[in-house]
């Protein structure tokens, strides 16, 4: 099962780097250059994980995070920032990001692990949903008994 990731960064280099990297790891990958662009993509395509930079012109990553929580509450969001401030980190926590990764992304393994963990949460819920099927008849049996 392939998860679909949307990479959001205003720097084309980073977008390309992450696009190639996660495709290589077997994910379906889309990219967007800013918050608005990302929301337009999300409205078109089913997405599991958003990986977004915080500092971007126009709609920034925190505003995007907020919009995603509001409109696509089941999408997991991993934030990245080169501008490390406590306020940024607290905003990410407050608004329900999975985690926040610091740039520069010298070691992509950290980001990889963050995405993997986010994916694990979604897979966990899929498993619960499929267990529902086998759980349901039991409930009926109990209620009949």
């Amino acid at each position: 099962m392939k998860s679909r990731i949307l990479i959001v960064d205003d720097e084309a280099e980073i977008r390309d780097l992450l696009h190639r990297h996660f495709r290589y790891l077997g994910y379906d990958v889309d990219t967007a250059s800013g918050g608005q662009d990302a929301l337009a993509m999300l409205a078109q395509t089913r997405t599991d994980i958003v990986v977004s930079d915080i500092n971007m012109p126009g709609m920034d990553g925190v505003a995007l995070l907020e919009a995603v929580r509001q409109d696509y509450p089941m999408i997991r969001v991993v934030m990245m920032t080169g501008y490390v401030s406590q306020e940024n980190i607290l905003a990410c926590m407050r608004k329900g990001a999975e985690t926040c990764i610091f740039k520069p992304l010298e070691d992509l393994a950290i980001l990889e692990r963050a995405v993997f963990n986010a994916e694990k949460v979604t897979k966990h819920w899929w498993r619960i949903l499929s267990e529902l099927r086998s759980a349901k008849p039991d409930v009926e049996v109990v209620s009949q008994a």
Binding site: M1, K2, R4, D28, L42, A43, Q44, T45, R46, D71, Y72, P73, M74, I75, W126, L129, S130, L132, R133
Partner: protein, 303 residues
């Protein structure tokens, strides 16, 4: 893009899980239908609004999870309309109810297609879907054109009102002031709706009523002037317990005519009020208006 989605469908989406989602969404929409029908029969019955809102809200969130982006968009628009209704900012008028019912029918049709493993919306029905979401969006925005159409009618009725009241200087002046306020309000509506709407009619109504009373006070001071007899009579009625007063028969006739005219004016006010409420774009104005009308009515009845 569509190929991508169907790719994912086969790899990711367990048909049984999707089936359960469709079953529960259908069930929720059935309940929505009955709530909306109840609301259509009785627009003041707001009890079901919350459950209708919740149904749209969860269909919106869940459908995105399963990749049904068009269902999500439509449910989102429906949710927006419901949010306004729930907050009392949008009344259950006919266009609103028609939009909601059409939206629910469309949602059901899309879910049925998904169940048949077809795309959410047939290619030739895309335009109709776009039109529907557009209609729902426009319900959430006060229609500028509708408002613009409304004003000439309101102002015309006020002109008539002024001519009817021309023989009472004070009341006439108060109404002229109200008319002036409305004129100022008309263009302001397009630039700064809420503040202008909240402030001016309130002021206007306040101004009008004291002016009305002032006229009776003035009359009391100048008995026998050429003013119509109405306020004099009012004062007379109020003080009847203390003293009596001779009034010419002709004055009584004039007074009764005046009351007749007042009743007509009240009808005109009621008409303006009905128009305002029907257009539904000026909730504050119509509320203020309703209060002014009630004050006017009770004053007329007192006469």
């Amino acid at each position: 893009m569509n190929e991508d989605v169907s790719d994912q469908d086969s790899e990711l989406l367990d048909p049984e899980i999707v089936g359960a989602f469709l079953d529960e969404s259908d069930e929720a929409l059935e309940a929505v239908d009955s709530h909306l029908i109840a609301l259509e029969a009785n627009p003041d019955e707001h009890e079901g609004l919350h459950s209708v809102f919740r149904a749209f809200h969860s269909i919106k969130g869940n459908s995105a999870f399963f990749g049904f982006m068009k269902v999500k968009l439509l449910a989102h628009r429906l949710e927006d309309v419901l949010a306004l209704m729930r907050d009392g900012k949008l009344a259950a008028t006919k266009p609103v109810m028609n939009g909601l019912l059409a939206g629910v029918d469309q949602l059901k049709a899309m879910l049925a297609r998904i169940r048949e493993q077809e795309s959410e919306c047939a290619a030739d029905a895309e335009a109709k879907l776009a039109e529907l979401t557009e209609t729902l969006t426009s319900l959430c925005v006060p229609d500028e054109q509708q408002t613009a159409d409304l004003w000439p009618g309101v102002l015309k009725q006020f002109d008539e009102l002024i001519s009817v009241l021309a023989n009472d200087a004070d009341l006439g002046e108060a109404i002229t002031r109200l008319h002036g306020d409305l004129l100022r309000l008309a263009p302001a509506k397009h630039t700064a709706p809420t503040e202008a709407v909240e402030l001016n009619p309130a002021e206007a109504a306040k101004e009008k009523l004291p002016a009305d009373r002032q006229s009776s006070v003035a009359d009391q001071a100048a008995t026998g002037s050429s003013q119509p007899a109405a306020p004099t009579q009012k004062q007379a009625a109020g003080d009847a317990a203390h003293r009596t007063m001779r009034v010419e028969e002709k004055k009584i006739d004039e007074f009764l005519d005046y009351v007749g005219e007042l009743i007509m004016v009240r009808e005109m006010f009621a008409n303006v009020g009905k128009t305002l409420r029907a257009e539904n774009t000026l909730t504050h104005v119509s509320a203020e208006y309703q209060r002014a009308l009630e004050a006017f009515t009770s004053l007329s009845l007192d006469l």
